[in-house]
Amino acid sequence: MPVELVKLPDVGEGVAEAEIVEWHVALGETVREDQILAAVMTDKATVEIPSPRAGVVVELGAELGTRLAVGSPLVGISFGEDAQGAGQIAQHDAPTRTDEAPVDPKIRPPIEVDRHRAPRSDNERRGEGRLAPVRPIASPGIRARAREAGVDLRLVTGSGPAGRITPDDLIDHVRGRSKASVSASIAQDNDAIEPIKIIGLRRRIAERMAEATRRVAHFSYVEEIDVTALEDLRQQLNARFAGSRPKLTILPFVVAALVRAVRNFPQVNGTYDDDNEVVMRHSAVHVGVATQTAPGLMVPVLFHAEARDLWGCAGEIKRLATAARDGTALPKELSGSTITITSLGDLGGIATTPVVNRPEVAIIGVNRMMIRPVWQDGRFVPRRMMNLSSSFDHRIIDGYEAAQFIRRIKELLEAPALLLVGS
C-alpha cells in the first residue's frame, strides 16, 4: 500500500530548518489535496504546509517544537484503500538529533476528570481519587529519592522517552524549587509550577535577544523632547483631514524626523555583518516598527520610509501592525529593516534601554508623553515633554555621533513645520 512522504518544503530564502509549531491533522485522518497539514516556523515566518495529495495520514514527522531540516519527511500519506494502523515515523530515521526531539507528554491519554468541571487547581490534583493521577514514569531509585526530598513526581517534567523522569530532571526540579523556596515563605500555599516548553516564536525571540546582548556593544542615550508644538500640529492635522486621511499618531512624525536626520548621519541607517565585519550603509530607510503580538514581539518593516509622507507612513504602519497581530504578515514584510523604532505607547515609561535589532546598529525608543514643568523665560511653564531612549552598537556608532544624531531629531520634532517642508 503506497505511502508518500511529504517533505518539508523550502519555506523561505536560505531557510535551513523550520520548527513544527502546530499539527492541523492527526494520525489516521483522511485529508484532501491542499488541505493544510501543519504550520512550521522559520526565522522569518510561520508557514502553513498544504497536502500535495488526498489520502490517509499514516506518519507524523516529529513532535511539536521539533526542528526539521528542509527536505526531511514531514508527513506520510498513504493513498491506497486500506490505510491500516498508523505509526510514527521511527525517530532515528529523521536526521534531526534524537535528544532534540523529546516525545511530547501531552500526547498520552488526557487526564480523566471524574467531575463534570474543568480540572481544578493544584490542590485538586493532590486529592486522592479526585483525578486518576497520570502515573509518573520513573525508576524505583528516582521515586525513592523524590519521596525523600518530598517531591511529588507528578509535578516534575520528564525529559526522557515517554516522559520518563531522568535523574537530571529531578535535580533541576529540586534546584528550581530551592531557588523559589526563598520566596516560598510568602507564597506558601501557591507552589503550583506549570512547565511550559519554549517553542515557536518565543524560542525565536529568545535566541535573537540572547544573540544581540552577546554580540552588540550596547549603550543607551536618553534625550528630552518638547513636543508641545508637535502635538498641537498633530491634532490640527487629524482634525482637518479626519475621514479622508489616516489618523496620525506620533510615530509618523518620528519616522519623518528619523529619515531627515539619517541623511546627516548615514552610519546610523546601517546593518553590521559582524561575521564578515562589514557595515552595509543603506540609502533607503526601511524602518522596523516593533509591534507586540499575542505570541510575542514582532518587527514588521516600513519599507522606503524616505519616500512616504506622514499619512503614507501612518497608513502603512497601521497595516503592518494589524498583519503582524493576526499572523498574516508575509515573511518578506518581517525582515529587511535598517533601523527600528520601538514604542510602548502610553506604557512607554520615563526611559528604557531597547535592545538593538541585529544586524542593525541603532534603535530609537519612544517614551511616554507627559506634562512637565519647564523653566522658560524666568519661570516654570507646563510643557508637553517626551523622552527618546535610543540604543546604539558602540562597535559602529560612538557616543558623540549618537548624541548629535538624536539632537538633530530633537530639533526636527521641536519644530514640526520643518517635517512638512521638503528641506
Binding site: 467531575r115 490542590n123 485538586e124 486529592g127
Partner: protein, 337 residues
C-alpha cells in the same frame, strides 16, 4: 393510608407501642388526664389507665429522674418535657445519669428511656417557648438525638426511639405540629393533610435512627437541614431556582455521614441550616465533618444559616427565624463563589 398531623403521628406511635409492650409508660406535666398541652398523649390514659399514662408534678429533674429509675427497673418510659426550654433542670439527670449509666456500670444498668420535648420557634413563643437546644445533647456521648420533619418520620422515629436500648432525646418542632411551615409566615397555614409526607401507615413501623433521607435530589449544592428548616430550605431553593440537594438529617446522633459526604462530593457546595443559635450550634459540627471529609471537593467555603447568637426574641420573631429569604440569599452567594 391515613393522613395524620405530627401530633396524631406522635400519639399514634405511643399508642402502638403501649399496646405492643406493657413496659411502655408515658408521663409528664399535663400528659395524663388532659392529654398534653399539644394533645400528643390525648386518649392514652383513657385507653391504658392512669398507671401507664399519668400526670406528674412540675419537676423536670423529677420527671427524668423517675424515668431513669424506671428504665433501670426494666420499663420503657416516655417522659415529656412540656417545652424544650424547660429541660435545663433535668439536664443533670439526662447527661450525668441517663447517658452515662450503661458505661459506668459496664452494662449492668441502662436507661432505655425517651425524653420528648417540643422545640423550635415560629409561634411567637419568645425565649421560653422557642429554643432549639439540640447541640446541648449532641455533645453528650451516650445520648441519641433525633428530630423528625414530618408525621411519617415522627411516628416511625418515635417507635424506633422507644425500642432503642439507649436514652433518646426526641425533639418535636412545634411549628410543624399541625402543618409543614416553609417560613412564609404571612401566607395561610397549610395543613399536613395537603402534604404527602403526612401519609402514615397504620400500626407498627420504624424509621431507623441514624439514617438521613435525601428529601430532594439535586446537583448544584447540598443543603443539610432538619426539623422545620427542611421545609424552609425547600421553599428557598424553589424561590431562587437553584437545583439543590436537600438532606433531611432526621437523626443528629448517630449521624448519617455517608449520605452527607456522597452529596457534597457530588455538588462541591454545602449549606447548613438550623434554627438554633449559631455559635457551637450543631451546624458547627456538621461543617467540621464536611470539611474533614470533602475538603478537596469543595468549591466554596461551607455556609451556615442559623438563628442569631441572641436569646429568642418575641416581636422580632421573623427577623430571628431563619426564613426562605435568608436561606435563598445564602444559596445565591454559594453559587456565585
Amino acid at each position: 393510608m391515613p393522613s395524620l398531623t405530627m401530633i396524631e403521628a406522635v400519639r399514634d406511635a405511643m399508642d402502638v407501642m403501649m399496646a405492643r409492650d406493657d413496659r411502655v409508660v408515658a408521663f409528664g406535666q399535663d400528659v395524663g388526664r388532659f392529654g398534653g398541652v399539644f394533645r400528643c398523649t390525648d386518649g392514652l390514659q383513657r385507653k391504658y389507665g392512669a398507671s401507664r399514662c399519668f400526670d406528674t408534678p412540675i419537676s423536670e429533674s423529677g420527671i427524668v429522674g423517675i424515668a431513669v429509675g424506671m428504665g433501670a427497673y426494666g420499663l420503657r418510659p416516655v417522659a415529656e418535657i412540656q417545652f424544650a426550654d424547660y429541660m435545663y433542670p433535668a439536664y443533670d439527670q439526662i447527661v450525668s445519669e441517663a447517658a452515662r449509666l450503661r458505661f459506668r456500670s459496664a452494662g449492668e444498668f441502662s436507661a432505655p428511656i425517651v425524653v420528648r420535648m417540643p422545640c423550635g420557634g415560629g409561634i411567637f413563643g419568645a425565649q421560653t417557648h422557642s429554643q432549639s437546644p439540640e447541640a446541648l445533647f449532641t455533645h453528650v456521648a451516650g445520648l441519641k438525638t433525633v428530630i423528625p420533619s414530618n408525621p411519617h418520620d415522627a411516628k416511625g422515629l418515635l417507635i424506633a426511639a422507644i425500642e432503642d436500648d439507649d436514652p433518646v432525646v426526641f425533639l418535636e418542632p412545634k411549628r410543624i405540629y399541625n402543618g409543614p411551615f416553609d417560613g412564609y409566615h404571612d401566607r395561610p397555614v397549610v395543613p399536613w393533610s395537603k402534604n404527602t409526607l403526612s401519609e402514615t401507615p397504620e400500626g407498627y413501623y420504624t424509621v431507623p435512627i441514624g439514617e438521613a433521607i435525601v428529601r430532594k435530589e439535586g446537583t448544584e449544592v447540598s443543603v443539610l437541614a432538619y426539623g422545620t428548616m427542611v421545609h424552609v430550605a425547600e421553599a428557598a431553593c424553589r424561590s431562587v431556582g437553584i437545583d439543590a440537594e436537600i438532606i433531611d438529617l432526621r437523626s443528629l446522633v448517630p449521624l448519617d455521614l455517608d449520605t452527607i459526604v456522597r452529596s457534597v462530593t457530588k455538588t462541591g457546595r454545602c449549606l447548613i441550616v438550623h434554627e438554633a443559635t449559631r455559635t457551637s450550634g450543631f451546624g458547627a459540627e456538621l461543617s467540621a465533618l464536611v470539611q474533614e471529609r470533602c475538603f478537596y471537593h469543595l468549591e466554596t467555603p461551607i455556609v451556615r444559616v442559623t438563628g442569631w447568637d441572641t436569646p429568642y426574641p418575641h416581636a422580632q420573631e421573623w427577623d430571628y427565624f431563619p426564613g426562605p429569604g435568608r436561606v435563598g440569599r445564602a444559596l445565591m452567594r454559594l453559587m456565585e463563589a
